[in-house]
Structure formats: structure tokens, C-alpha cells
Amino acid sequence: MNGAAQPARVLVVDDDPDMLLVIEAALSDEGLQVQTAADGPSAIDLMQLRPPDLLILDVTLPSMDSSSVAERMRELRGDAAPVLVITADGRAAEKARTLRAYGYLRKPFELTNLITSVLTGLQR
């Protein structure tokens, strides 16, 4: 936990609006400040405005390569910026390695695992 002074900011990027809603609700319940984006360009716009502390990235995004979102995150928050990959794709581990994510979750996932992973990521 990052203390009471300033809640940690998490940006969730996924093209499934239902998934965005449920993640936003679950992480808000944990006291985190959550922003959501349905595609790469809007995610990058949000990051420029206020760089998040952690990025949750669905790697099968339309239009824009998810790697450019992850890259932008590193430019803004340094090389060790925490990126968590969620995907329905079978090659989740490989994609996580490519994006240099600290962890990944395969859809459908246990909500507890998501929360634990995010909290772990924020403590790094």
C-alpha cells in the first residue's frame, strides 16, 4: 500500500467495456484511483495528462499496437514502470515477456488474483 496521502493511480486498457467496468469497481473498492481506456490512442492521451502508477493492458487491442502503449508508459514512468498484462490469448506469457510486464493474467481470471497482482505491482 502506498499510504493514505495519495491513492495510487491505475490505468486499465481493454476493448471490452464490461471488463473495464468490473475492474474499475473492484480496484476502487481497494481504495485505488482507476482510469479506463477502450483503445491505445485514448490510453496514451490519458497517460500524457497524468502518468499512472500502474498499467493494466489487454494485449489484443484494436488499431494500435499494445506495445506502443507499454513503451509510452516506460518513457513517462521510467524503465521499471509496472505493467500487468491481461489477455484471452493463449500466448499470454510470451506477450508479457515481449512487453516486459511484471506479470500476466489469463482471462477469465480470479478477481482476487487481479487485486493481489495489482497491489504487488504497486509495491515494487
Binding site: 471490452d16 471488463m19 468490473v22 475492474i23 473492484a26 473498492d29 490512442p41 484471452a88
Partner: protein, 831 residues
Amino acid sequence: MDQPFGLGELLNLAPIGAIVRLFGVDTIVYWSRGAQELYGWKPDEALGRVTHSLLQTRFPVPRQAVDDALQIEGHWSGELVHTRRDGQEVVVASRQAVHLDPQGSPTFILELNTDITTTKQLEATLRESEERFRLLVDNVEGYAIYMLSPEGSVLTWSESARRLQDFRPDEIVGHNFARFYTPEAVAAGVPEQILRRALTSGRTEEEGWRLRKDGSRYWANSITTALRDRSGALRGFARITRDLSERRDAEEARARASREEGARAAAEAAQAEIRASRDQLAAILAGVADGITAITPGGHILFANAEAARLCGFATVDEFVRATPAEILRRFEIFDEHGAPFPLNQLPTRVSFGGHQPPQRLLRFRVRGGGQERWSLVNATAIKDEQDNVRMAVSVFRDVTDSKRAEDTARFLAAVNLELSRSLDFDEIPQTVADLAVPALADWCVVDLAQDHTPRRAAIAQGSDLGQEHDDLPDAAKLLSAGKPRLVETVTDADLTPFARDPLHMEKLRRLQLCSIITVPLVAGSRVLGRLTLLTAESQRHLGEKDLVTAEDLALRAALALDNARLYRESQQQTEAHVQLNRALRDTLTQLEVSLATRDEFLASASHDLKNPIASIKAMAQLLERRLSRTGAIAPEQLHETLGRINAVATRASGQVEELLDLTRMRLDRPLDLDRESVDVVALVRDLVTEHQQITDRLEITFETSLSAVEAHWDSRRVVRALSNVIDNAVKYSPTDAPVRVRLQTAEDRNDWVVITVEDQGIGIPSEDLANVFQRFQRGQNVIGQFAGTGIGLASAQHIVESHGGTIHATSELGVGTTIAIHLPLQEYAL
């Protein structure tokens, strides 16, 4: 053993013995079909053997010289004698060339051997005819004809010599001819003087006593001629001795009579003697196969035999003898052996009148006004009286036309074989053939081919350019329909008519002043490939039966060469067809691989799409659980909202499952089981556009229609899915801020149909991919690897539209955009 050249099959086609042997060791590594035919050995018997031991080669020069030529010059050609498998010897014209590897080291020797045994046999025939002449000489009564060595030893001894002088060949051959002379003559050195005189003047004649074997004497006349070879070296002497005993007796009697009865009686007797002598000579020479004439310097023919009359174009000896020299000469055109006009003052008979011994001449002559050309060997000898005045010239004509023709034909056909074996180019062969035929056979040669039943003049060769139009020649189509081989020795208008296209063309044909025509079909197997036609005009040469035979020989070879070339070309084309087939197969395989890859991608994507709603439902359920366990209770409105969302996601997932099932039906080519209901098309499309606009803010999706409400009877969920797929595609392939326009209108030609168009300003579809755009798992080449996708959306849309009885079309321009137009009937109707 492998054949070392891909050339092998090609060499197999050539009608010559082609052999490839390893350089240095001469082991045979290639043995063509022609070689098998020539020598009788099959490839498995010949391969691996050493060429010259297998064929028992006899070289015309030391073998080392052949090997040196191959090593230094890279090639050698000459005549070889080989022994066939059946033990028969064949004479071949052999051409050999060394093949170098890329480093320039010799690897193989290619050997092409053409059978020239026939030519050699013709030469042997000529020798045989000389032998026959010798036999004739042997049988002439009263002559001894024999040969002496340069030193004067007897070399040959003829039967006639035996009869005259009694010696058997084994008793006299090897002995000096001085033995025939009296001891007094030998003591006076007569034999040596005779040889010296013959050596210096070429020929000497003497009369005197000779001895028979038993020592008895007889009076004889001898002619001794020095024999020299082409280089001028003395080979020996020929001796012709005639027993003059009877004449001597007659002369002695005449002298007596002269003394006793006076000059008048003596003259009568002399004339009688001359008559007798002439009659005797005539009797001897009448049956000789050569033409023989005796002519006085004044041109009076003293004697001619039947053959001489025939050769000069007279029916009988009497007719010939009555003719004046001018009359006789006017009848002929005379050429030297190369075809140049021959000056009359050099005719051997004329030269001999001048007292000189003329050289033997090979002459060509032709009876003026349309005779065939003949070849003759002409010799003449002057007969002088005691005062050394020329009294007559005896000329001997040997008609060598047949052997000369045979030799020329053999040489010509050998050249034809060689030329034609060089080419497998179908288009080149007709001209090669025509060029070979002119001027050897005729003044003109045309080759017409009947390919695909269309007459075509494939080649023309002409001996001299006299400005004729090629179009004036006999018509190709007419010639091709002429059928059997035809010979027209002397052309008349009636002969030309069948070859004329029309009266105008007939006039042109006449103007060519054709002399002879030979036209023969080119037949290979049972196929008539075309026609070879020979024409003579300006040379005034009349073609005959023998020329027809030669033309047929040429046509046979030409047809075989054409057939070979055709087969070769066909095999090439087959190879080309195979290459194309392979390419097509490879393309199909590549396409299949791409399709399979996109299908895998589709399955991955489909399972991903299904996992998303499941993941959402699962996460929502767990969220509720967490909140419940954390706070003990959940606000009813919160619970209501989340449960509603779960319900909606599950509905979407079920729609996705249904879509997957539809796709399976589509794959099995089964129509959809439509769930039709009444629906307002305007509302349906408008809602759909709104929904899509909510998902993206990258670009604007506009909806245009002039209709307020249109009722349709559709499976609305599926139509929505079809339209969704089309709009999704338009959005996906459009740049940001390039609007997508959706329009709805009634069909132009009928108001119970609607047209829905979706127009984008995206990247477009390459024209070569446009036809496949509705195929399953087919995607444009410009999007593979650039955009995620499965290639299923448009295929699925088409399936749905067509299940409703509608159509879907795409028009596109690269870089400008794509428009998809969907035509749908509002009601279900029976097809």
C-alpha cells in the same frame, strides 16, 4: 551409368552415331540410339568399354596424331573404319570434339560418326567397272597389255599377253622385259632406250622383232607409256604390244607387188589393207562399252562405234559418220567438271591433231534444247604416219554419268544428313533443306508446310536473282494438294495450270519459263507434313527420273528432321506445361497454407472473443461476492445493475456462440435456419449505427436515409450481425477522422427491396483480391500482418444476406476507399 549430358535425348534423335567418352581413358559414358543403330551394340554393352577396342578402330593417320589434334585443337575430323557387332566393317566420317569443364580442363570427348560406307562402296563400284574394262582389254585378240616397274621388270601379265607370248604370269612377272627382245636388240641397248624415250616424251612407239617363250620370232608394234601419279612421280610403264606378223607379211607382199606390178596396184592394195585394218578394228571396237571414234584432221569420221554414236545423240553409226564436225559440235553445250563452258580448242581430239598427247578430260555435256546433262571421260591419241604427220585422232569417251551422279548424290545426301542433324529447330529446317537443294539439284526450291491444315510457304531458295517475285512461284496450297511425287521433265502450259491460283497468276507462272518441275510430299510415318518442290528455269536443266529419286531421298530426310524437331518441340512444350502446372500447384498450396493459417487465427480469435464475456461474467460475480463478504450486504440497486449487466454479457456471449454455429453451417454449405420476424429496417440500421458510434470516437459514422419506416420480414439478429461485420470492417480499415457513411434506400428498380451501402475512405482492397473478399479466411494482401482479423466477417455477412435472398457486392479503389452494397428483399419469397 548415368548419361552425362541432358543433351542425351537430343543426341538420340540425331540419325548419326553419337558417342561420349571420357577424356584420356576413352571409356564410353554415352551411347546414342544412332550409335546403337550404326554399330549394333546396345548402350549397356557399350558403356564402360574403351571406344577403339570395342569398335576395332582403324585410323587413317597414326592414332597419336588424332590424340594430339584433340588435345591441342580440341577437335578432329576424318574417316575411320569401325567393326560392327556383327563383324561387318563400316566406314564413318567422324567428327570429334573435346568438352571442357568450367576450369578449362578436358572432361569428355563427343564423337559424331556418320556412316559413309555407301559412298565408299560407290567408289568400289567405279573400281569394279575399271576392272571390267581390264577384262575387256585382256580379251582383245592380238594385243599384249602389261605393266612394267620403273626399272623395267614385268609387274602385271594379262591373259591377252599370255596368249600372244606364251609366258604364264609366274614365269615372267619379276623378269625384265628385255627378255622379249632379240639378243642383237638387247646388245644394242634397245630396251633401255625405249624406257628412256618413254620417260622423256611420255610415250614411245616402236616396231621390230620380238621373242615368244619358245624363242620363235614375231614382228610386233609396241607402245610404251610412262605412268605417273598425281604428284608426277614415276609409277612404272604400260606396254601394249600388237602382233603385226600378218601386216608385215602383207606389207612385204605389197612391196613385192609394188616392185612387180607398179604403183597403181600398190595403191589399191594399200587401200584394201586400210579397209581390212579398219574392218578389223571396227570388229574389235564395236562391242566396246566406251565410245570410240577415229577422226581425220579434216573432220572426217573414219570410224565410230555404236556407243560413240549413242553418246553423241545419234540413232545409228551411219547417221553419226555422215554428220560434219560442225553439225556434231552444234548439238552440244560442253562444260568442264565444275560447270564452266569448255573451250572447244582444248577438246582432247583437237589437241591431239596438233601432235600433242592431250591429258584425259572429265567433261559435262548436254544436247542442246532440253537434253539431260551427262559426264564423260575423254581421251584422245594421235595416229601418225612414217613422216610424223597426224593421220587421225582416236578418241575414247567413257560415259561416267551414272557413277558421277551416284557419287554426287551420295555426297549431297551426306551433306544433307550432316546439315539436318545439326538442327532441331522446326522453323529453321525448311530453309536449310531449300538451301541444300539449290543449286545442287535445281534453280529454285520451295518448301511448303501444312501446319494445322493451313498451307504455309516455309522456305524459298533461288539459284540466281533474276528479279522474280516469290509470289509468282507455284501456289503453296495447290502444291500441297498435288498428292504423289511428280516429275515434269519438260514443262508445258498444261503442267502449270494445276499450280496457278487464277489466270493472272498463270501468266506469271508462264513468264518464269520453267524447264522442269519435281514436287514430292514430305512424309513422316503416315503424316504428310508438307511438300518439297524443285524447279529449273534459267539453267535450262532438265530434271529426270534420277533427280526425282534424289528429291525423294531429300524429302525423306527433311520429313524425318521436321518430325524429330516437332517431337522435340512438343517435348519442350510438355516440359513447359509441367513447369506451369507445378507453379499452379505451388500457388494453390501456398493459398491453402494461408487459408489454414487464417483459420487457425480465426479459431484463436473466436475462443478469445468467447473468453472475454465469460471473463466479465466471472469477474462480476466475484465482485458481488467480495462486496457481500466485506460489507455483509449489497445495495439492491447495485445488485440489480450488476445482475442486469451479467445478463446482457451472457446474451452477447450466446449471440457469439450462435454466430460460431452459423459459421459451421456456412462451412458445411448449409443454409441458415432463419428466425424471421417483423422489423423496421430504418430503426434497425439507425440503432446499429448509434451502437457502433458509441464504441469508437476515432471517426464519425453517419447514417443517411430518406425513408421514415420500412417494414421487413427478416431474421433481425442475423441481419444486424451481417451489417455489424461490414461496419466493423469499414471502421477497422479507416484512418482516424475519415467518416464511414451508412445509407439506406429503396432499390432503384423495385420498391420491395432495400439497398444498404457502407462506404469508407480506408485503405481499399487490391483489385486482384476483390473477387475473393467474400471467401472464408481470405483477406486482402495489404492487410495481412498489418491488421488483426480472421477473414470471416464478410464471408459470414454474405452467408446471412444470401440466406435472406439478397446479394452483397464490393467495389474498391486502393487508397481511396471501399463500398459494400447489400441488396435485400423485404419479404421472404420463393425462388
